[in-house]
Amino acid sequence: MEFVNSHLLSLILFSPAVASVIILLIPAGRVRLIRWAAFLLSLVPLALSVYLWQSYDPSASGYQFVEQQGWYAAVRSSYHVGVDGISVSMVLLTTLLTPLAILISWSVQERVRAYMALFLFLEMGMLGVFLSLDLLVFFIFWEIGLVPMYFLINQWGSANRNYASFKFLIFTMAGSLGLLLAIQLIGLTVGTFDLVEISQVWPAFELPLKVAGLPIQIPTETVKIVAFWAFVVAFAIKVPVWPFHTWLPDAHTEAPTAGSMILAGVLLKLGGYGFLRLVLPLYPEQSQAYAGALAGLAVLAIVLGAFGSWGQTDFKRLVAYSSVNHMGFVILGVAAVAKAYGTLSASEAVIAANGAVLQMFNHGLSAAGMFLLVGVIYERTHTRDLAAFRGLFPLAPVFGGILIFTSMASLGLPGLNGFISEYMVVQGSWPIFTAYTAIAMIGLLITGAYILKAIGSVLHGPLNEAWAGHAMEINRREVLAIVPLMILILTIGVWPAWILRVIEPTVTRLFG
């Protein structure tokens, strides 16, 4: 127990990797065993992170469960992990979604072993991003996640998967290029990659940077602005913020169900997390200066994401675009925090920041749920064309009910989780970006439009006779996979304090 306590984060981080290896050791033919092993093993990090959640002390300041160990001394980088209120919730989200995603992947028939191993590996990558307190390690995990995702899309995806996976990979890698360069710049300037040290030194760093070989000195201000944008673009692509979002509908649409779940549920959060963890603390001034632009993009994401979603005829693509829409709120909250940093509105900004974090968590739940449901219906009908469904409610009442429930969470129905966070973001942003917030409301309106379009096309209307007699109902295992999500959706909607209790002190400390 002593060991567990002192190495809790490492255990969480590497237990999926170990699980992945274990899966690989099982003979490929024993599909049932592989599935169950993957599922059970993925419960280990979940259990650990629940324990982490319980042991996390919200009132204590700074990072907790910190571990540090030498790693790559040549570039002054070390394995440094720790959690605060923001990351602990993200960790919980990740470890929660992974078992569910695995559970929904029973329908994967070919190369199950590789699939499961990649999945667990992916989990490690994502956890690493949330846990690492070293910029280089952060970047490593940031990039590592791409690989399993790429293969999940490329191997187990649907028709257009090559294009989608390629786009996903190249887009994201191109984005992280700037991040890499900026990280190096910071690392060189500060002399370490340790986030804790950097966040103390870098924001106040003022010496002009020498550029060897050139007679001019670039002012720190300029350098910081460029580096700031490098960070922003990298994270914005991941989030994704308009206009960097076009990889997302393709990737989501083509990915297998579980892949979409994780993609929407966790991977997008990496971007938002990056904003909160790195961009704001490291570039307070630049963030403040460009918060307006960021908010503008966020609003565009909200509005155009919603419109884009509404304009779809493909169910999955519709849900995919909804992620653009929802994640826009995260960025709007971030922008509000950035703008208000150090001003009188900081207290409102804290609301926005809380909202942004909570929105990440909530979107993780609802988007994952939506993709799960899309997957369920796709498996039964083998189509995603909204025009092809029509009137399935009588055939699948339970599915329909769950779909409506989840959709409503996505729509932001009060009483469910989405509302809380969207409200908090709007609340926080209103005094800071009044006009933008007002425009964002168009997005909120259209959110309703597309959600209803989806529900209506799938469930309502006269039954499409082509499906009469088909078994459409969701099965027990799938229900099992989505029920935890629904419970959380409802719980957060009704009693948000249990999670905000953890998030809020950290956010206040960081941005208050």
Partner: protein, 490 residues
């Protein structure tokens, strides 16, 4: 150090090669096993040397020194420092895996292995030589068998052309370097070729600036620097698998290493002056190689040009002349060596079965050869600098170094990563995934266990370095520091 480990490493292959020639030519089985045994010895010893290298003490270790032609100041002097030790290990690895991969060669295996081993001796020799003359001597030993290996066992279509091209480029390069080395020899007035002595010779700035390009670019030809890179893709493509592995995996490092050891370390002033040009050319290498690789239709050419691109990174690391850059360059040499050996091994396995390397005609190989696919993907990820693998560990310090010298180059060169990702993924997708062309259905035999071992070793190294850079990075850092002591910091 009483035990002359470096000499033994160096001459084990040569001795084995000569002994092999005494075998009856038709006893293929015995020949192969003997070759494997010799390779194992070399690998084992180089691994032992690698592990026993004292990182704390740094500097040259395992030094041996015997006068050879005292009249001319030539001595047989070997020793390894943090820069060369990993390369020795790399050679051991590539040699070992190369033998494994070549198990299926039926055309005169005796001569094949003999030449391969002589080549290996040359390579080992260059890495451990502390005497400029010895270095050049081993360098020529390394180049010559290459010609025969390509011309005899290579791909019928271009082997003569490629072999001749390679030989001409490399000999011309070495002649140019020889001129430079001789100039140093005479100008130093020390009457010795000993590089440690020459380091302290105190050449005048003007001298260094004049002669640096000779030495550096002469060797850099073998490192594949733009615009002298074209021998390399042609050579890679024409060579048989194991030779390609050696060729791209080790031989190109030979050029880079020699350029460092003789060029930069002996003529630091010159290096400083010419560094911007090298930076420029190497940047061209990185981008240009990657762009061309992305339009190739021949599987092997893609890999060939990717080597051009990656060696550009090594040169970039050298040209930074600072600790990060040099460390990165050293790591990149090792990483690229392993990675590209892996690549060529895979290409060879695919080609042996498909009898074509046209990317458009291949497909779906992951179904038939999953391990190969996984290995190639790992290599590909290394190639695109994916964190967690050795490529990132190597490229990261290079970029760190570049930032300090020339941020613009860092930014431009970083673009190469994206382009690399593009072509690697394209190749992975086309060759290993997708539909299996009808003509291959049922004709693809599984790979042998030797191939498996080789792939696992290579891929495992890539992952190991990526996850635990401390197994190599500190050693190379000491090497980089000793270079810096000479160059005078940065």
């Amino acid at each position: 150090m009483n035990f002359p480990v470096l000499s033994i490493i160096t001459f084990t292959p040569m001795a084995a090669g000569l002994l092999l020639l005494l075998f009856p030519g038709h006893r293929h089985r015995e020949i192969r096993w003997f070759a494997l045994a010799a390779a194992t010895v070399a690998l084992g010893l180089s691994l032992w040397a690698y592990i026993s290298y004292d990182t704390a003490a740094a500097g040259y270790q395992f030094v041996e020194r015997v006068p050879w032609v005292p009249q001319l100041g030539i001595s047989y002097a070997v020793g390894a420092d943090g820069m060369s030790m990993p390369l020795v290990l790399l050679t051991g690895v590539v040699m070992f895996t190369g033998v494994l991969i070549s198990w299926g060669i039926d055309d005169r295996p005796r001569e094949f292995f003999a030449f391969l081993f002589i080549l290996a001796t040359g390579v080992f020799g260059v890495f451990v030589a502390l005497d400029a003359f010895m270095l050049l001597f081993f360098y020529e030993i390394a180049v010559f068998p290459m010609f025969l290996l390509i011309a005899i066992w290579g791909w019928q279509v271009t082997r003569e052309y490629a072999a001749m091209k390679l030989t001409l480029y490399l000999f011309i390069g070495s002649v140019i370097s020889l001129v430079g080395i001789l100039a140093m020899y005479f100008a130093s007035g020390l009457g010795t070729f000993d590089m440690l002595a020459l380091e302290g010779a105190g050449f005048s700035s003007a001298f260094q600036r004049t002669w640096f390009p000779f030495v550096f670019f002469g060797f850099a030809v073998l490192g594949g620097i733009f615009p002298f890179h074209n021998w390399s893709p042609d050579g890679h493509v024409a060579a048989p698998t194991a030779v390609s592995m050696f060729h791209a995996g080790v031989l190109m490092k030979l050029g880079a290493f020699a350029a460092l050891r003789v060029g930069i370390m002996l003529l630091p002033e010159g290096a400083k002056m010419w560094a911007p040009l090298i930076l420029g050319l190497a940047t061209v290498n990185v981008i240009y190689g990657a762009l061309i690789a992305s339009v190739q239709t021949d599987f092997k050419y893609v890999i060939g040009f990717s080597s051009v691109s990656h060696m550009g990174l090594v040169m970039l690391g050298f040209a930074t002349l600072n600790k990060e850059g040099l460390t990165g360059a050293g790591l990149q040499m090792f990483s690229h060596g392993v990675m590209t050996a892996l690549f060529f091994a895979v290409v060879g396995m695919v080609y042996d079965r498909a009898h074509t390397r046209e990317i458009s005609k291949l497909g779906g190989f992951s179904k038939m050869m999953p391990l190969v696919a996984v290995a190639f993907i790992i290599g590909g990820l290394v190639s695109m600098g994916m964190p967690g693998l050795s490529g990132f560990v190597a490229e990261f310090p290079i970029f760190l170094g570049l930032w300090q010298v020339q941020p613009a180059v860092a930014i431009i060169a970083a673009l190469g990563i994206v382009i690399t990702a593009g072509y690697i993924m394209r190749v992975v997708g086309r060759v290993f995934y997708g539909e299996v062309p009808a003509e291959f259905e049922g004709h693809i035999t599984p790979i042998s266990r030797f191939d498996r071992v080789a792939l696992v070793i290579l891929a495992g190294l890539l992952v190991l370095i990526g996850v635990q850079p401390w197994v190599m990075a500190p050693m190379i850092a000491t090497g980089a520091e000793s270079v810096l002591r000479i160059v005078g910091g940065a």
